[in-house]
């Protein structure tokens, strides 16, 4: 059995709720849809027991009623495990994973700035990547956001 299949089996054996939610589109690529409440357990298992010691990045998505977050993890041998969680857009709260991966800091700040996620536990620091004078409540990567910086600053002056 290939390594990807093996990992899938181990995940399902440990977390029954994953049994219908793991796909292997090609070699070295595993995608898993994880309930947001169980994310931390799965992350802990993946990083400490399955060897996923690399965080490539975190992708935030506007999924309509929810915001999605895909944590792209990798092993040193190149196999990737992409963990996808979704949270309600009205309360887009997730916990920082910077205790596992310090580099998550920049990726999580992007989620805050561009999608309006609320990341609990993120230490005080500069925002990234938007400028300080960017008006609050404007999240460029949300699907319903259409704008340009010159229009935005006009909005700010008129507000």
């Amino acid at each position: 059995m290939g390594e990807e299949e093996n990992i899938k089996l181990q995940l399902i054996q440990r977390f029954a709720f994953l049994s219908e939610n793991i796909s292997i589109p090609r070699t070295r690529r595993i995608f898993a849809i994880v309930p947001a409440n169980n994310f931390r357990q799965v992350l802990e298992y993946a990083t400490t027991e399955l060897g996923f010691v690399i965080l490539c990045t975190i992708t935030g998505l506007d999924e309509g009623p929810t915001l999605g977050f895909i944590y792209h993890l990798a092993k040193e041998n190149g196999v990737m495990l992409n963990l996808h969680i979704s949270v309600a857009k009205e309360k887009p709260v997730i916990k920082t994973i910077s205790n596992y991966f310090p580099a998550a800091d920049a990726y999580e700040r992007e989620l805050v700035d561009l999608l309006g996620a609320q990341v609990e536990g993120l230490p005080a620091g500069n925002r990234y990547p938007l400028p300080d004078d960017w008006p609050a409540g404007q999240y460029p990567l949300r699907k319903d956001w259409k704008g340009k910086v010159s229009e935005i600053t006009e909005v700010k002056e008129n507000a």
């Binding site: 690399i54 490539c56 992708t59 190149g78 990737m80 580099a103 920049a106 500069n126 990547p129």
Partner: protein, 411 residues
């Protein structure tokens, strides 16, 4: 003289116009005790723009995320799209992509050598490496029609073929560059001034490199044996033989040696690619609408691992495009490297991660917290301060600049 805690802002800052600094340093005497980095100057809004463009338009945009590794971003992106669309990219196209990829690595590492030389006052190195680099720029222009932003990729393959008459020209240029690089390796390993200047500077242990998520030559110089070409092969790398260059100096000197070693490997790779390149078509037809799906593509750019995530929704435009350039990983490690380091080392330590943002225009504000005054100096001045500081320690490139001559002219 009593020790003072100075807050040094490196970056555009002026008391009258409130702008954020790029790097905020806390100094005690001449040593940096703390540093925070602020990014965003290059934030243009590329990911959002992709959602409003066709895949081909996205390709042109993504190529321009970074002008030094444009092929890296373009290839990384298009690989994800091709995977979702289920396209079988022809072997010959994969080989051509790999050829351009290695030529890009060569131009990028030679560029870096020159920039590094400039930051420490070894300007003759800049002149020589950038002159040599023109040989590879000429080849890239010959093969692709442009010196930068090659536009070589299309969805399903490449747009231009390599013709038989081009091959000897490529090989001649590679032979000449290899000879020249051997000389730079000699200088790098034997020139005491250079070695002393770069050793023990910007130290990063293997544990920290791994924990903090460093990538590329920055990580490999701390003994981290990771290279996407070998670990998660793409394009033609699965069929090619090459060494991953690591080093254990854990400092800027190590980062220099790694890039020199990678140059030598790239020359060998180019010859292999040209020898093994199969005949055949250079692209397959691609649909305008990409069926719903998602993919993650990874690529070893000159600076390190590049990651692209693409989600398609069955239309002509992507649902989501996410780009994680290697510099974003490495810049988070810089504050750690500079902690307990000298202010004089700042320019070369930052340059040594080979940052993908323009570094030449950073301004520095020195805020004296006791007297509450602000002075502004520019990156150029900080560079001069660094060069003069080391001169006083006996590490001076004046002689080397004067006498550094390479006997044979590069044809």
């Amino acid at each position: 003289m009593p020790e003072r805690n100075f807050k040094v802002s490196i970056g555009p800052q002026h008391p009258a116009l409130k702008e954020p600094e790029s790097f905020l340093l806390t100094l005690r005497g001449e040593k940096i005790t703390e540093m925070t980095v602020r990014l965003g100057y290059n934030h243009r809004g590329v990911e959002k723009a992709c959602e409003g463009r066709s895949y081909i338009q996205c390709l042109y945009l993504i190529e321009r995320v970074c002008g030094i590794c444009s092929h890296s971003h373009a290839t990384c992106f298009i690989q994800a799209v091709e995977e979702i669309a289920g396209l079988a990219v022809p072997k010959r196209a994969q080989y051509i992509r790999t050829l351009i990829a290695e030529l890009e690595r060569i131009h990028s590492h030679l560029l870096w050598l020159g920039v590094a030389g400039h930051e420490i006052g070894f300007d003759t190195l800049l002149m020589y490496t950038w002159r040599d680099r023109e040989a590879v720029m000429d080849i890239l222009a010959l093969l692709t029609g442009n010196r930068v932003n090659y536009g070589m990729n299309t969805i399903g393959g490449v747009r231009r073929d390599i013709t038989p008459d081009q091959i000897p020209q490529i090989l001649t240029a590679i032979d000449a560059l290899e000879e020249r690089t051997k000389y730079y390796v000699k200088v790098g390993t034997e020139e005491i001034t250079l070695r002393e200047r770069l050793s023990g500077v910007g130290t990063l242990s293997k544990e920290d490199a791994t924990r903090l998520g460093a990538v590329g030559p920055t990580a490999r110089a701390s003994g981290v044996d990771r290279d996407t070409r070998r670990d998660d092969p793409y394009a033609a790398y699965g069929e090619l033989d090459f060494r991953v260059i690591t080093d254990n100096h854990n400092d800027v000197y190590g980062r220099t040696l790694v890039r020199l070693g990678e140059l030598m490997e790239s020359y060998k790779l180019v010859r292999q690619i040209l020898k093994q390149m199969p005949e055949g078509p250079i692209s397959v037809k691609a649909p305008r609408k990409v069926p719903a799906g998602e993919a993650v593509s990874r690529y070893e750019a000159p600076r390190g691992e590049d990651v692209h995530y693409v989600k398609a929704n069955g239309t002509e435009k992507p649902e989501r495009v996410k780009v994680r350039a290697p510099t974003l990983a490495n810049v988070q490690v810089v504050s750690h490297m500079l902690k307990d380091g000298y202010l004089a080392d700042m320019p070369i330590v930052i340059a040594a991660i080979d940052p993908c943002f323009s570094c030449t225009d950073r301004m520095i504000s020195i805020v004296d917290t006791d007297r509450n005054t602000a002075n502004t100096i520019e990156w150029n001045e900080l560079r001069s301060i660094g060069i003069n500081w080391y001169r006083k320690q006996g590490i001076d490139f004046t002689e080397l600049n004067r006498n550094f001559k390479i006997a044979r002219e590069l044809k």
